[in-house]
């Protein structure tokens, strides 16, 4: 092979490699994008029923229930306009509390209860997930830091 042809083969190989990697990346990307929906979106039926997505909002006071000794917990996520019922089985994060903003990742169940696979609460009492803060702003309601939260 002449050096020139050798170089062309190298270039072709690299282009092929980069191309297949990019194609693979795009598919992996599409499959793993997690969309975020507010409780209002979910109530309005905008959220998908067949794939995993995230929903975020505040957990209103008094909405958290759990049967004694059981790992299955139920709570509500609200953006003060609409709310979504959530169920979760497992250990909740340390900062999960009523009156806090949380994000749940999971699927919509057939009975209209969101079945969470993972619940995220942030490690700062003043912290609110940006998505939640934005949704709340849209609803023209600002939650107070200390006082009890309004329930809808």
């Amino acid at each position: 092979m002449t050096p020139r042809r050798r170089r062309m083969v190298m270039v072709a190989l690299i282009v092929l490699g980069v191309g297949s990697a990019a194609a693979f990346a795009l598919t992996a990307f599409q499959d793993n994008l997690l969309y975020f929906y507010s409780p209002s979106d979910v109530t309005a039926g905008k959220a998908p029923t067949d794939r995993v997505f995230r929903v975020g909002g505040m957990v209103p006071e008094g909405s958290f229930t759990r049967a004694q000794g059981s790992l299955e917990a139920h709570f509500i996520l609200t953006d003060y306009a609409h709310e979504v019922k959530v169920s979760y089985t497992g250990v909740l994060p340390d900062l999960f509390r009523e009156g806090q903003g949380v994000i749940a990742r999971g699927r919509m169940g057939a009975d209209g209860v969101f079945v969470a696979e993972e619940v995220l609460a942030k490690h700062d009492e003043n912290y609110m997930p940006p998505e939640v803060a934005k949704t709340l702003k849209k609803q023209h309601e600002k939650p107070t830091n200390s006082g009890p939260l309004p329930t809808t």
């Binding site: 790992l71 497992g90 250990v91 940006p130």
Partner: protein, 651 residues
């Protein structure tokens, strides 16, 4: 008083960074030795004042001076003394002061250990470093001053975030910063070489130790962070593909590419402009990481301080640094052509593939990390990219890279024939496959093809890393530190892959509910909760459970996981109970009370998890050994320098 002194010293440090930049750059440009000497003095002065400023901040923390806003926000009179010092960098303002201290210490290091470099080069490097520290000092003074007073003074502080009250996390930020900031030195060298219009093998020899040291600290810093997340966040994971973790991982990958590309530049005068580009990119990604963490554009456990003003400053600073360096590169890069050729099968080719694949991996992570930001910025969907994307995509470039590593280590420069090493590499590959099958199928049970592939790669690399040192030693050849360093670092990588593959393939975790007296079976072990008790710490109260772990009736370990509530911040914190063993961890974390005496517990079995951090430590050790090589300490004689300069001109 100490706060005002610290503030004042910080202003003086900023003022000194300007002459450092001006006299450093202009002294070299106009060849004025007095100006160059002045720049050196400015470095020392700046270091003294920054250190003094940092000491002042530490002192007000030690004194519990709650009339200083930053102290009131991040400390408390009940906080143990050790953590009062760690609290200095426990939040945004103080951690930036630490950043600046590290920055000026690196500059001082360059000034002190540059005896083998021409004065002009040193002077330019110091000048560029002066510009960078000026930017950071200004950033602190304008947007994040830790010395601001609070009036009236708070009666007591709001305490340090309980998550940060941990020895590993107390040293994690300094380590990480030394690494991050360390990449500003190769960056400064790159800019200096471009200004000078000259880049040769000797230049690469000057830069290599600096790049390696920065890479070493970054390795340690990331490993410490991962270890901390493992036991402190209570989830038992060691890597979450969290945006902030990615932010520290990207400079690491590019830094790794850089130290490999520098090898080719030093030995063969190749990849010159590529090396420059990597030096610029490594530091740019460090700055990008800072921007991601500090501006609050991404949500993450680390995003504690979000302030648009700060984000804007860092973004502009990033723009100036990267834009300036890339502009200079576009102008000067044609000067740095390398005409030396190499055959398609040679060490150069292997290093090239290493670089392409590492840069590819960085691109994968960069896209996944920033895509949600762009979507949000343009008002499109709110999305996040999940760990499955990173896990799948990261392996695409990394797997071929690891398999190329074993032959690559044994390829000769220019043209490799593999005549002497073909046989041993093939034997090692067969041994690696057999070992991988024994470990995966024999010990743990069949899981997937990828498990076997991963283990094979790891064993092959581990074996290949040892071939060279052993054969040199047996033949009685000299064994330079750089070769030992390379072997050790690659062996560390193999250890890391063994750990990561095994733990990801064979970990077992479960959430369940236990009462004192009850027990549960998990991964072949019996976990019995024997008692619950209340424990009091210096600044927290905790519920502690005692869990006895037995296997076949024999006691293996007793662990004491806790659920703490810190008095000031009222945050609940999980202290996991871990029984660590070289080949497995048993991990018990308390969830929450479920009513009665029952608690939710998370039980985990983590085989080989220690190898992940041990592997990283061994990698860093390899770097440490490599920089001890004699040739970095040797002074360049006038003749050699002149010969190299002549060589560069003809090349």
């Amino acid at each position: 008083m100490a706060a005002e002194l610290g503030h004042f010293a910080l202003i003086l440090a900023f003022c000194l960074s300007l002459p450092q930049a001006f006299f450093g750059l202009m002294g070299a440009h106009w060849r004025r030795p007095h100006w160059i000497a002045l720049a050196n003095r400015a470095v020392a002065g700046q270091w003294v004042f920054t250190l003094f400023s940092f000491a002042c901040l530490s002192y007000v923390f030690y004194q519990n001076d709650f009339s200083v806003l930053y102290v009131a926000q991040n400390s408390n009179s009940e906080l143990p003394t050790f953590y009062r010092f760690a609290a200095v960098w426990g939040a945004h303002e103080g951690s930036l002061l630490l950043w600046l201290l590290v920055q000026v210490t690196w500059a001082l290091g360059v000034a002190a250990f540059s005896g083998n470099m021409p004065q002009q080069m040193t002077s330019r490097v110091l000048g560029v470093l002066g510009l960078i520290s000026a930017g950071f000092a200004l950033f602190i003074l304008l947007t994040s001053n830790p010395f601001l007073r609070l009036w009236p003074a708070a009666p007591d502080g709001r305490d340090l975030n309980p998550l940060l009250q941990d020895p590993a996390l107390a040293i994690h930020p300094p380590m990480l910063y030394i690494g991050y900031v360390g990449f500003s030195v190769p960056f400064a060298f790159a800019v200096a070489a471009m200004l000078e219009g000259k880049l040769d093998s000797i230049w690469a020899r000057w830069v290599r130790p600096w790049a390696t040291v920065a890479w070493m600290f970054l390795t340690c810093g990331i490993a410490l962070g991962s270890w901390w997340a493992y036991y402190e966040l209570g989830w038992g994971g060691w890597w979450f593909w969290d945006p902030v973790e990615n932010a520290s991982f990207m400079p690491w990958l590019i830094g790794t590419a850089l130290i490999h590309s520098l090898a080719a530049t030093e030995k063969r005068g190749l990849f010159k402009s590529w090396t420059l580009l990597l030096s610029i990119t490594a530091f740019s990604l460090s700055l990008l990481g800072t921007f991601l963490v500090r501006s609050g554009v991404i949500e993450s456990v680390h995003a504690f301080a979000s302030d648009p003003g700060r984000g804007l400053f860092i973004l502009s600073f990033l723009g100036v640094c990267v834009g300036g360096a890339l502009g200079l590169y576009a102008w000067r890069a044609p000067l740095f052509r390398s005409n030396a050729g190499f055959s398609p099968v040679s060490r150069e080719s292997f290093l090239l593939f290493n670089n392409i694949l590492l840069v590819g991996a960085t691109a994968v992570i960069l896209i996944g990390t920033t895509y949600p930001m762009f979507m949000d910025a343009f008002g499109l969907d709110k999305v996040s990219v999940g760990p499955p994307y990173f896990e799948a995509m990261f392996l695409v470039p990394m797997l071929p890279m690891v398999f190329l590593l074993a032959p690559g280590m044994h390829a000769a420069w220019k043209k490799a024939s593999f005549e002497s090493t073909k046989k041993i590499l093939a034997v090692l590959l067969v041994v690696a496959v057999v070992l991988a099958l024994v470990v995966s199928v024999g010990v743990y049970g069949w899981k997937s093809v990828m498990t076997i592939v991963g283990l094979t790669a790891a064993f092959w690399v581990a074996g290949a890393a040892l071939v060279d040192p052993i054969s040199r030693w047996r033949k009685g050849h000299s064994l330079p530190a750089s070769i030992i360093g390379m072997s050790v670092a690659h062996f560390g990588l193999a250890m890391f892959i063994v750990g990561a593959t095994t733990v990801e393939s064979y970990k077992q975790e479960t959430d369940l509910s236990l009462k004192p007296g009850q027990s549960a079976e998990h991964a072949g072990f019996t976990f019995t909760m024997t008692q619950l008790s209340d424990v009091k710490g210096p600044n927290y109260e905790a519920v502690q459970s005692e869990v006895v772990i037995t296997r076949d009736g024999k006691q293996v370990a007793v662990v004491h996981p806790q659920k703490r509530v810190y008095r000031v911040q009222k945050n609940a914190m999980t202290e996991a109970g871990i029984d660590a063993h070289w080949n497995r961890d048993l991990f018990v974390a308390m969830g929450e009370p479920l009513g009665g005496d029952a608690w939710s517990l998370r039980l985990q079995y983590k085989p080989m998890v220690r190898f992940i951090w041990l592997g990283a430590a061994v990698m860093a050790l390899g770097g440490l050994i490599a920089i001890c090589d004699r040739r970095y300490r040797k002074r360049v004689t006038v003749d050699e320098g002149a010969a190299a300069a002549a060589g560069a001109k003809t090349a």
